[in-house]
Each structure stands twice: as C-alpha cells, then as structure tokens.
Symmetry: C2
Subunit: 435 residues, 2 copies
C-alpha cells in the first residue's frame, strides 16, 4: 500500500534525531490516551474509530438522497462554518478542476454559505440562485450558530419562493444532532431528510461523518474510496509503535521537538494550488486543538511556487520563528508538456524535455535547500498522488497526529474554550436575550 | 473626502500612546527618504509619484486595446507571478461577484496562469480554453522567470492552434520592460501591443502601472477612479506630518512600536470575504519589503467571521506572538434582510431588525474586545466602502506606509535579496546552462 512518508532529515538544522527519538515515550503515551480514552477530552474520541464504524445503511440512504438531489440540481448550497464547512471544501477543491464552475459536467457544483456574514456575498449568491436549479445541505449541530442560521433563513426563503414550500422541502437535507436542537426540530417539522453529527465527534474531526460525506458525494466523488483511505491509515496509526513505521507519531514527535526548541510558527506548504483548502482545514485542526494555555505552534500556510514570489523573502531572511511542513505529491493526475520553441528567446528550451511536475519538484527541492540554509527546518510529507483514497489517508493521518501532538504538548486537544469569547461580546452587542 | 481611518486605541494593551508618538521623528525621517530619494533602494521609488505621473496617452491606448480584446473574448488569461499577479487579482476579486465565473455579463472573466507549476492546473485551464474565446495578457519584466515563461509557451501554443498564428498575435498583449528582455523581444518580433513596467517600480509596487491596470480594465472596472483614489491618498500621505492627520505614518508608527515590544506576527484581518486577495497582496508588500536581516513582522491573514471558527481559538489563547490589523468596511454595496420566522425555532428573530452588516460589525466589535482581553493588540483600519476609488486609496496607503515602515525598521524596503536563493538551487537541479 502506498502511504504517507515523513522525512525529518531537513529538520536537523534545529533538532537532532536524538531530540525527536527522545519523544517516543511521550507520543506513545499520547497514542494510548487516544485508544483507551483515559485523558482529558475523552468524550470527543468518536473520530478515532469512525472509518471502521460507519453505518452501511446510513451510507446507502445518503447515497440515495445524493442521487435524488443531484438529478434536479445544478448547484448544491452547503451551509456551514468551521468544522461544518472546511472538511468538505478541502476534499472537493482538491479533487475538482480549478475551473469547475465553468467546465461543468452533470454533477452539481458546490457553493458555500453560512461561513460569512458579508452582506454583498449573500446578494451575489441570490443572484446566482435566481438563475440555476439548486438544493441545500444545511449543517449545524445546534442550528443556532449565528452565521449558518442567518444563511439558512435567507436561502430557505429564496428556495421556497422559487419552488414553493413543498418542493423546496424536497430540496433540503439537514445534518445535525440526533435528538435535539433547533435544526433537528426544524428538519422534523418540515420533513427534511436528516443525517447525524455524532455527539462524540467535534466539528474539526467531522469530515468523515455526513458533514463531509454528503457534500463530497454530491460533488461526484467516491466516498467509499475516501473512507477506505482513512481506514487503511487508521490501521497504520493504531498498529505501529515506532516513529519510523508510524507517520502520525513521527509528525507529532518532530513538531513537538521543534516547538520545544523555540519554533513558534508552522507553515503548511503545499506544492499544488488545489491543496489550499487542505491548509485551511489543517489550520483549524491544529490551531483549535493546540492553541490554548498560551501554547502551540501558530498555523500558517504557503502554496508554492506561487507564494515563493510573495512570502519567500520573509521565509528566507525574516525573523527566525518558523518551521515548514511541506506536503509533496509525487505524481500529477494528468500531464502537459512544455512546448519547444526554435528561437528560444525566453531561454527555457532546457526545460522542454521535462514535465511540469519535474520542474515543480526541482523548485520544491531548491526551496528546501534554500530554507534549510536560511535556518528554517523543513519536514517533508509526501503522498503518491491526489485522489479520494490518498485524501482519506491524509485526513486520518492529520487527525491522529493532531490528537497525539496535543496530548504531547500537554493540552486537551478536543476542547475550544477560547472560541466563545467573541461570541459572548457579539451577543451582548446584538442585544440577544440573556446576554 | 472619505478616507482611511486608523484607530490605535485597541493596541494600548501592548504599547502606550506615548510609545507610538515617540516614533514620530523616525517615521518623518523615513517619509523624507521616500520623497527625497536619499536612502537605500532609492532607484525603486517610481511608485511614489506614479498616480500623478501616469501617461494619459498610454492610458488611452490601453483602454483602446482593452475594448478591442474585450469584444472578442469571454476570458482573459493573465500570465504573471508575485507582483505581476497579486495586484490585479486583489482589485478584481474585491470588486467582482464571488460567483462571477457563473454570473457573467459581457465583460471578460479573468483567469490566471504563470503563478504556479501545478501540472493538473494547466490541463484544467486548457480544457476551459478549448471551450471559450479568450485573449492573453502576459506580464514579466524579463520574460525569463520560469513560471510565467512556461505558462506563456503552453497558452501561446494553444492560442495559435485555436485561432492560427496571425489571429493569435492579435489576442496577446505584453507588459514588460521598455527596451530589453525576452518578452520585450518576443513582443516586437510577433507584433504584440506592449506596455511598460517602469524600471524604477518594483513588482510589489506595480499595481498602478499597466501590470495591474490592464487586467483590471479588462474585467470592466474603472481605472480612472482607482487612480483618483491613489492620487488623493498620495496628497494625504505627502502633505501631513502628524500621526493623527497622516494614516500611513500612524500605521507605520504603531506596527513598529508593537514590533519593538516583541510582537512577531501581524495578522491582516478582513471583515469581508472578497478582501482575501487584498491580504495576499499585502503579505507580499510587507513580507518582501521588511522580512530581511532576520527582522520584520511575519505577515499572516484572517477573514472574519469565517476564520474565527478555525483560527479563533489560537488567536484567543495560543502563544502571544501577534497583533491584528483589522480592515473594516463601513457600508456594503448592496443590502439583504434576515427573513422573519414566526416559529423562531433557530432563536434568531432578535436579528431580523438588523442588516447583515450590522451583525457583522457586532461580530467585529466583539472580536476586538475578546482579542484585546486575550492580550492581542488590534489596530483598526476603516474605509467607507469597497469600490475602485477606495481600493485606490488603500493601495497607495499601504504602499506609502510600507516604505515608511521599512525605513523605520532599518532595512531597505525595496530589495528582495532572499528571493533568489531557491531559484539558484532550482536552476542547478534543472540543469539550466550556467548553473
């Protein structure tokens, strides 16, 4: 089985192999907490066995709803924020054409709402929804989170005006709590098909529940392969107890070792532009899991070679704060050649025997050398290619490594006490009853 | 005239007003360097008077070329990277509908190339270009930068195959050096209309040259208003010598004061999703200008409220490294109401008397309070609304403040010596002659 490789040798400008190996007892103890559920946050460990335990009947029902809605929809509006948004978007943006909105086949194109309060955004969305047939997938544990609740009211009103109340209710799917909450109650009253966000799975770990699976399937991607990748990575993460054989333990160990040596910022560097939402999903996963008690690596991201021409100078020569975690993809899904040109005015004929991926790889290698020389440690993660299966692997890998890393850091990786602070202030300012 | 306001009072959890005022002599000296050109980097000060000095005849010629190409093109492919990419994209994404690719009027839609080496990206682009009539704007000072040179070969070959060599040459515009370089020579030989990147304007300061103006005009936006905004902001920045009356001096002073008190990271926080490329442009401007000699604030960015649900926990409770610069927009361009719902199951009827912008403003205010309480200083920048005129103001404001800030930091804000390091390694690995 092709799997994720972690190469730590470019991190030795800040930590030694011995520093990293010395963390083995701690990461093994953290791993034990995850498997045995005997540490803080143990009521949110549902994700640990999720790919194994997914209900086959629910999956079949989900696929039937997807088929029913896909047939009558050119668009799916996914309403959600944070963990109810980034997982699906990360997978879809990684797999679809960068120009998918303009090169559409029969599959619905996914648009997003409920992740912003931008007033112009909603007007622009409604202008689009006037023109195309669409359905809605609304995702919220409680149903009362401000952004998705506001968005759902706006979109639902539009949908009911466009299709009538009954037909509209046949174009809505809700993903919410199993038993209670505003969205659960609305779905029951209105007769929307509903799917469950398990109680023991936090938002940022929920992409392999219907929260991610429904939109991903609507976009036309193979969720069975996604789950298979996660399942295979789960076996690797659970079954191996050395850093060499367990990429999640290695990644958790090296980033903690670098943190203990004064590293403050971790940049996830992706070598393909379609991985930018993978970086956004990763930022929430690691920032929200570890950024507490004034601890944790600050998540940042770069896309290369694009951002070498904007942030490259700072990484090379600015304050020495960061490490990079570079996500490399060994093979493209398609090929394109650099055309030859007899005159060679641009001087790049020396490239015409090479594929773009070879050139991009040399850029990545050159970047690693340059940044290491500049004092930035680089951890390399590599996968064979980008498809449903490898993304499933990446999801489980990053989740498991995050749990291990958070416990190794000495925090509860599964709460997010700081997220409420701005909301309390906002509710007070908005005059919400009780605030 | 409505202008940019800088509010520093939420930064007083890390610096005092006196700390900031104490920097006045230094920022005035830095300003003098910019106006008199007597410090390092003074051969790259062309941007300082650019909005005043733009050639009216060149502008008229540019508009005529735009009109000619727009008539026969559904798409414009803009080929460029770094400063030859981010400025145009920042303005266009701020002004167009978020769904512009699907809600197209008669104006060409802009797509980008040459900013990546992703192999799948180019295949996906070619698939799109098979389907739609298009033109090309290729932007490169030298014409030999790897990414745009490769992209131009690929796209040019496609264009010539689609339209024939002669008709293709009538669909290409080059923006390049006035006298020399590969792209200059290709344009001359092939008879492409060409526009000049002035020798004394660096890439990251070039958005108000044809580098930005051509794509922005092709997208249908009013470049005269953009230039007028920049011109008016130039008057403010040049004419005022107090922090209170000169927003660029104030911004430069407060961020340097915060840096001297140990701040390591500056997050540009935008309150509307369409400003995400403004943040990318800003990252290059500040990161590349200041990130040298192991100095400078590391640029980072957030979009709220979206990223409060991903990065909010870290900002509230993680390592205390950062300041925030929050860019607020007082008025939306359009309005949308929160629909009422008698049953109020989602409990948000208390919001139905408010506009989305009011709710978003309360979120921003609540965020400022929460982050200040958490030990993060917040500098507020506010503009009246987002249109060509205010974006022109923002461009000049950020550029002038950047020059002032860089000199105050003690670096040459106009070079980028660290950008070459990875390229040398890459050329060696690629076997480029001479490396």
């Amino acid at each position: 089985m092709e799997t994720i490789k972690v190469n730590i040798k470019h991190a030795f400008n800040r930590v030694s192999e011995r520093d990293i190996e010395a963390l083995l007892p701690e990461v093994l103890e953290a791993k034990r907490h995850l498997l045995e559920g005997d540490a803080a946050g143990n009521d949110f460990l549902g994700w640990v066995n999720l790919p194994e335990e997914i209900d086959k009947q629910e999956l079949a029902r989900l696929k039937a709803d997807v088929a029913r809605l896909a047939e009558k929809s050119r668009l799916l509006v996914v309403i959600g924020i944070g963990g109810s948004y980034l997982g699906a978007r990360m997978v879809i943006e990684a797999l679809q054409s960068e120009f998918a909105s303009m090169v559409r086949d029969n599959q619905p194109y996914i648009v997003y709402a409920g992740h912003t309060l931008g007033e112009d955004y909603y007007n622009q969305l409604l202008e689009l929804l006037d023109r195309e047939d669409y359905s809605v997938c609304v995702i919220s544990k409680s149903g009362t989170t401000t952004e998705p609740a506001v968005a759902f009211r706006i979109v639902k009103a539009h949908l009911e005006k466009k299709y009538g109340k009954k037909a509209a209710s046949e174009r809505i799917v809700a993903i919410t709590d199993a038993r209670r909450g505003a969205l659960h109650d609305i779905a029951q009253q209105e007769g929307y098909p509903a799917y469950v966000i398990p109680d023991n799975v936090g938002g940022r770990f929920s992409v392999l529940t219907p929260v991610g699976l429904f939109p991903i399937a609507m976009a036309g991607y193979n969720i069975d392969r996604l789950l298979q990748g996660a399942r295979d990575m789960r076996s690797i993460c659970h079954g191996n107890n050395t850093l060499e054989e367990n990429p999640a333990l290695m990644y958790a160990a090296v980033r903690n070792a670098l943190y203990r040596k004064g590293t403050k910022v971790e940049m996830l560097v992706s070598c393909q532009p379609n991985l930018r939402y993978l970086a956004e999903w990763w930022k929430q996963l690691y920032g929200e899991s570890e950024g507490k008690s004034h601890k944790g690596l600050l998540p940042h991201s770069l896309s290369i070679t694009t951002d070498l021409h904007s942030m490259g100078q700072y990484v090379q020569d600015g304050e020495r704060l960061m490490m990079e975690t570079m996500l490399r993809v060994r093979r493209p899904n398609t090929t394109v050649a650099v055309p030859t040109d007899e005159k060679n005015l641009d001087g790049i004929n020396y490239l015409t025997c090479k594929s773009l991926t070879e050139i991009n790889d040399c850029a990545a290698e050159g970047t690693i050398q340059a940044h290491v020389d500049g004092g930035v440690p680089v951890v390399e993660l590599s996968v064979d290619k980008i498809d449903e299966y490898t993304i499933g692997q990446l999801i489980y890998f990053f989740e498991f490594a995050c749990g291990v890393s958070g416990y190794t850091l000495g925090v509860n990786p599964f709460d997010q006490p700081g997220v409420e602070a701005y909301k309390r202030n906002m509710f007070h300012l908005l005059g919400k009853p009780g605030f």
